[in-house]
């Protein structure tokens, strides 16, 4: 397996680097039962990208912390050095009451996503909401976005996003039929601890937000800097989406 593009290990002490390499080099086949492995091998792979080099998963695994149809308050928690396929959290509400998750003073560091979002993967959660308050999200590497919302809602307040990168889509948030509010927050990609090359930065569609299909975003007192992308350095909006920006600096 190849791990090209996942250079976030380079600056770590040798012992820690060795343990992380060991972690990231896990052979997925060893985690499957023989029956499941046989099934997986017959499926078309979802992703064969180079972020973590794990191909032929043929699945939609997601979440180190998952929540469905309930209330979760996370305060002062740390999420770091972890590998996902689609995100840290599954807030799937379906036709039920939705999942409400509050992250207060969370520290999110060095998450890698093989497919889609490294931090939050929220789908069919229109009845629920995700709140990220006074938190830090840094040095994450995603296939298509840090936070993915499909029929989802998120409110972000007092949070710093630093050095998060994606290969495609948007470095920050991708939205379909979703809404987001970001206030009193800083988005800074002058930092590049994951060592994404300039050419790779230009492959991503939007510097932070990509929105489509009647999505809505409101920004107030947001500072954004150091973002680089192919189409738009901060927001790319289409599909009857709406944007409101006040008191912000780009």
């Amino acid at each position: 397996m190849s791990y090209q593009g996942l250079n976030l290990l380079d600056e770590l002490p040798a012992a820690r680097k060795a343990s992380l390499i060991d972690f990231l080099s896990v052979d997925v086949s060893t985690l499957m039962t023989p029956y499941a492995l046989a099934q997986a091998q017959t499926k078309t792979p979802i992703s064969t990208n180079s972020i973590a080099g794990i191909a032929a998963l043929g699945a939609i695994p997601n979440g180190f912390l998952s929540g469905t149809q309930g209330w979760t308050l996370s305060r002062n928690c740390t999420f770091k050095n972890s590998l996902s396929v689609r995100g840290l959290l599954q807030g799937q509400g379906g036709s039920g009451s939705g999942e409400n998750m509050w992250f207060v003073t969370a520290k999110v560091q060095r998450l890698a996503a093989v497919d889609q979002a490294a931090f939050l993967f929220v789908i069919e959660n229109a009845q629920g909401t995700i709140q990220l308050i006074d938190s830090v999200v840094e040095d994450c590497l995603s296939a298509s976005s840090l936070i993915s919302l499909t029929f989802g809602r998120i409110t972000i307040t007092g949070t710093t996003f630093s050095g998060n990168y994606a290969q495609l889509g948007a470095n920050g948030i991708s939205m379909l039929y979703s809404s987001a509010t970001i206030t009193n927050s800083t988005i800074d990609n002058q930092r590049n601890h994951v060592k994404v090359t300039a050419a790779e930065m230009l492959m991503v569609d939007a510097g932070f937000v990509s929105m489509d299909y009647r999505s809505q975003i409101r920004l107030d007192n947001v500072i954004a800097r150091g973002l680089l992308a192919d189409t738009s350095s901060f927001i790319k909006a289409r599909g009857r989406s709406s944007i409101s920006i006040t008191n912000s600096t780009f």
Binding site: F23, S66, V114
Partner: protein, 142 residues
């Protein structure tokens, strides 16, 4: 305690509580380390550790499995290491009234959904000062 058969606590009478503390539970094999259903109590300073590889029929192997609409469980200063499950390797909650997880660590756990913690239909979950490190959300079953 070297436990391969697990602990099951279920349907305690109203007002009764359980308490598990200072009890390393390993290795955790085909069944959850501890199963709690419709009961109220605490798990404190307890380590759930496993390096056991799953077999064909091992669908659930969570360190701690909690269920029942009246379950009210507080987990404090505990650790969940090296666990593998189809869902919720560290802790799986299928339903509960209230779950509190405080000062606990989740390291090197693997599950497609909720490698550290998987919560379904929990009225209220409080996570305070926990650390989720080096967990893997990858597919382990078809």
């Amino acid at each position: 305690m070297n436990n391969s058969n697990g602990i099951a606590i279920a349907n305690m009478a109203a007002g009764d509580t359980f308490a598990i503390s200072d009890s390393p539970i390993f290795p955790i094999q085909a069944i959850p380390g501890v199963t709690i259903a419709n009961s109220t109590g605490t798990v404190t300073k307890t380590a759930f550790v496993s390096n056991v590889t799953l077999g064909n029929n091992d669908q659930t192997n969570s360190g701690l499995l909690i269920s029942g609409r009246t379950a009210d469980v507080t987990i404090t200063n505990s650790s969940f290491h090296g666990l593998t499950s189809k869902i919720g390797a560290g802790i799986q909650v299928t339903s509960a009234s209230k779950i509190s997880i405080i000062n606990s660590t989740f390291v090197n756990n693997t599950a497609p959904i909720g490698a550290g913690v998987a919560l379904t239909s929990v009225n209220k979950t409080d996570l305070y000062t926990n650390k989720f490190t080096s967990n893997k959300a990858v597919k382990i079953d078809g």
